[in-house]
């Protein structure tokens, strides 16, 4: 498996470690320093959101295929408001306002109704800044597991990362 910190089985913690190493002593790293090759096989589970005003008019610099499912890809200049609710990207970004409020990485999980069916997802939002102070972009990472009829409805834990590996 070609990922950052392969010894870590959870996607969100791998991305958190990458983000933390990338920023070093800075408060936030800039999006320009993100290296898809370093993120490796996790890159299709990632996305980069360019924040706009108002927030719902934010656009995407990159969205990995795993975040879009069968939708494949978003049209250029698709805004946050236009993201279909049935793709993983939508619940993964549902707490974007909390990220901007707390100004630190946030990882939440929960249930979502995706186009493939009900699923448990786990995502992380990582703040990025071109000037080191103001958050202007967000690195998104998420994965999911479809819920079968006999599966527990418990919220997903970190083990969901194994799904992506």
């Amino acid at each position: 498996m070609n990922v950052y910190r392969p010894e870590e089985r959870r996607l969100v913690l791998r991305l958190m470690a990458y983000w933390d190493d990338l920023r070093g002593a800075r408060t936030y790293p800039p999006a320009a320093e993100i290296d898809p090759n370093a993120i490796g096989d996790d890159w299709p589970n990632c996305g980069v959101l360019v924040l706009g005003q108002p927030l719902q008019r934010s656009t995407f610099e990159y969205v990995g295929a795993e975040l879009l499912g069968h939708a494949g890809q978003l049209a250029p200049q698709t805004t946050l408001a236009e993201v279909p609710e049935s793709v993983l990207l939508s619940p993964a970004l549902s707490y974007l306002d909390r990220l901007l409020q707390k100004q630190v990485p946030i990882s939440l999980g929960g249930e979502a109704k995706l186009e493939q069916g009900p699923a448990l997802y786990r995502s992380i939002l990582l703040p990025l800044s071109s000037d080191g102070a103001t958050i202007d972009k967000v690195l998104i990472a998420a994965n999911h597991r479809l819920v079968t009829a006999d599966a527990s409805g418990d919220a997903p834990d970190g083990g969901l990362g194994a799904h992506a590996s």
Partner: protein, 140 residues
């Protein structure tokens, strides 16, 4: 996500605790705190649980994990000192010096007073003898 409980990872730096990450899963927060601890960028790391208390109508905070590089260093130092003390004690016992360092048994009060009286008597006798000798010399 339950919404009732959240876990914040804090790091101590420049004299204050600062939030570094926010999780709804305790195991994720603990894992991240341990990773930060291993990175040794911060002298201390902790995980704070924020749980909603419906009765109080607010969030209650409690630290569920705390690790300090200073604490770890202190533990190592304490263990090393304890080890040195044990080795010294063992060496003393081997050499039989432990008994030599035991305090002398206290003498009885009567013995002490007798010794003082004997010393006083000797001083008096020496003084009397000296005066007598001087008188004899002056007389000659």
């Amino acid at each position: 996500m339950t919404g009732d409980v959240a876990f914040e990872v804090h790091a101590f730096n420049a004299g204050k605790w600062k939030i570094q990450g926010f999780f709804d899963d305790k195991e994720l927060a603990l894992s991240e705190a341990r990773r930060m601890e291993e990175g040794r960028r911060y002298p201390a790391v902790r995980v704070v649980e924020e749980r909603y208390d419906a009765q109080a109508g607010g969030y209650r905070s409690r630290t569920v994990y705390r690790s300090s590089a200073v604490d770890a260093e202190n533990d190592v130092a304490l263990n090393e000192r304890a080890q040195v003390r044990r080795e010294v004690q063992e060496q003393r016992q081997t050499r039989g010096t432990a008994s030599a360092r035991e305090p002398k048994p206290p003498r009885s009060a009567a013995l002490v007073y007798t010794a003082i009286a004997a010393k006083a008597l000797l001083i008096f006798a020496f003084g009397f003898g000296a005066i007598y000798a001087l008188n004899q010399l002056a007389g000659n």
